[in-house]
Symmetry: C2
Subunit: 318 residues, 2 copies
């Protein structure tokens, strides 16, 4: 029996873990794959205040160590469902069930697929969604990056230091990503930018050998020989397992206190309908979600005794 279950071990969940354990909530975190989540796969982070340049993995190790220092329990399990049991929640995981008074959803989001021929067949055989993971396999080879947002630009820059040549394909004629990243791709000698182009097909025998691209302004279709295709065209929140109100893309709808449509279920980070998906915003969400969850748990105390042994803290001592 827990006060709080945090589902997901990225920046939002880990910050919620720091705050919850300092609030003396008996808290467990479930993470199914990798502590740190998507950001742990990111080569360099330059915009989390206090760390001018750090790898995603190193930053997330610091977050994890910070949360564990206050007593956060972390278990590598996948959560399958959340059901109600009176005012409590039952969390079913691959390793069994736990009961809890409150839940923070911090499950993050995953890369979208383009949906073009060859994309699925060649995933892991030249098609990748993670430059940090797979970039080093393409040393002195030719790769393509697809997308126009922050991640696409950043990873194109990263890959340009490994690959001999990087094509950067974006379906629009302007990028959406940070201007500093735009300037870097424009300045890189081995990045060729194909604006108003789309990737039509990925081809090869056992591994990727080439792609077909189309110039949307002229209609011209051409083949390019290359070895790798990195796709950064958006993200899908990991929210299918939970029944709370979501927007049309599946992001969980919350108010500014991180409350969802379901009492006792709170949300933080990239799985939320936040205006910006960043480490800096996820930590803000996580702190607020933990505070709101604690107030909710306090409100249940009339009905159920506090799990935490250190309670009650309000006994007269003066």
């Amino acid at each position: 029996m827990y006060d709080l279950v945090i589902i997901g071990g990225g920046p939002g969940g880990l910050c919620a873990g720091i705050y919850a354990t300092r609030l003396r909530l008996k808290t467990i975190m479930f993470e199914r794959e990798l502590i740190g989540g998507q950001i742990a796969l990111t080569d360099v982070i330059e915009n989390y205040p206090g760390f001018p340049s750090i790898s995603g993995m190193a930053l997330m190790e610091k977050f994890e160590e910070h949360a564990r220092s206050f007593g956060l329990e972390i278990k590598m399990s996948s959560v399958e469902s959340i059901t109600a049991d009176g005012s409590l929640k039952v969390i079913k995981t691959t390793e069994g069930e736990v009961k809890t008074k409150a839940v923070i959803l911090a499950t993050g989001a995953k890369p979208s697929r383009l949906g073009v021929p060859g994309e699925v067949d060649f995933t892991g055989k030249g098609v990748s969604y993670c430059a940090t993971c797979d970039g080093p396999f393409f040393r002195n080879l030719t790769v393509m990056v697809v997308g126009g947002g922050d991640t696409a630009l950043k990873e194109a820059n990263y890959l340009s230091k490994i690959a001999s040549k990087v094509y950067l394909v974006h379906r629009r004629d302007q990028f959406r990503g940070e201007k500093i990243q735009q300037e870097r791709v424009e300045a890189a000698e081995n990045i060729e930018i194909l604006r108003s182009h789309i990737l039509k097909e990925v081809s090869g025998d056992k591994v990727v050998e080439g792609v077909v691209v189309e110039d949307l302004k002229t209609g011209t279709v051409r083949d390019i020989n290359l070895e790798g295709v990195f796709i950064f065209v958006g993200i899908i929140p990991t929210t299918g397992f939970v029944d709370v109100d979501k927007d049309k893309s599946g992001f969980i709808i919350s108010n500014s206190s991180m409350e969802t449509s379901e009492p006792g279920i709170f949300v933080a980070g990239d799985c939320r309908n936040t205006p910006l998906l960043q480490v800096a915003t996820a930590v803000g969400d996580g702190a607020i979600a933990a505070y709101t969850a604690e107030a909710y748990i306090e409100s249940l105390e009339d009905k159920t005794p506090r799990t935490e042994k250190s309670q009650p803290s309000a006994k007269p001592t003066g």
Copy 2:
């Protein structure tokens, strides 16, 4: 002429500065007193993810260095007013005027006064609102802390390591602050907790010599001899100079994109009607405010040319 003026140099403003400069906005920050703001006066911060224990001053120096590394311009001036000039804003400071396309308000908040006799007269003569600043003057003396929130508990703990004895006076019978801090004050041998008590008066000749407290449950009034009184009973946002919608306490009302009621004026951190005033939440606000401001500035571009010389970034290069 600037793209963006950030008013206030605490965590919200500095994070907005990091994001804005990376978005290649020509940005200036005005800070009237101290880079880092209120948090720079805080002894130890343990809940900003990534730094398990750091002084407020040291953390804010890291933020400042981080923001300056991307080119943030910082000027020590007090902003007196914001007025409109067409779609632009005119920022009047003690050092003159600047024009800007957008503004982020990150002015923070300041401690509330209790309003009891002697409080104002003895401010700086034994009455203090900052334990980090003034605590060391009370080594081996007796002090009182007034309040029941996070700050009061935290500073009572801090002062208990300096003073010979700390009275902790709270008007309610339960504290509002973090349970970990409650446990610490309860465990400290030289902290005497006076629940359901109020401070009635501060007295002395040239400096504080004693206080009068009342037990609200019994009505008993008594004198306590002591040398210092530290008051942590809430905060007042620094928002008087700006004409946007505010709540009844003066905190600026915003939506989740950090837009205020005034187009082109955005908000971040403790001066906002946020559910939680923390470094972790201020940085989230700052990142979002910078992104929203950049989108607003882009929307003005038809009318006024971009200030930034590196524009346009979308010229064909491929």
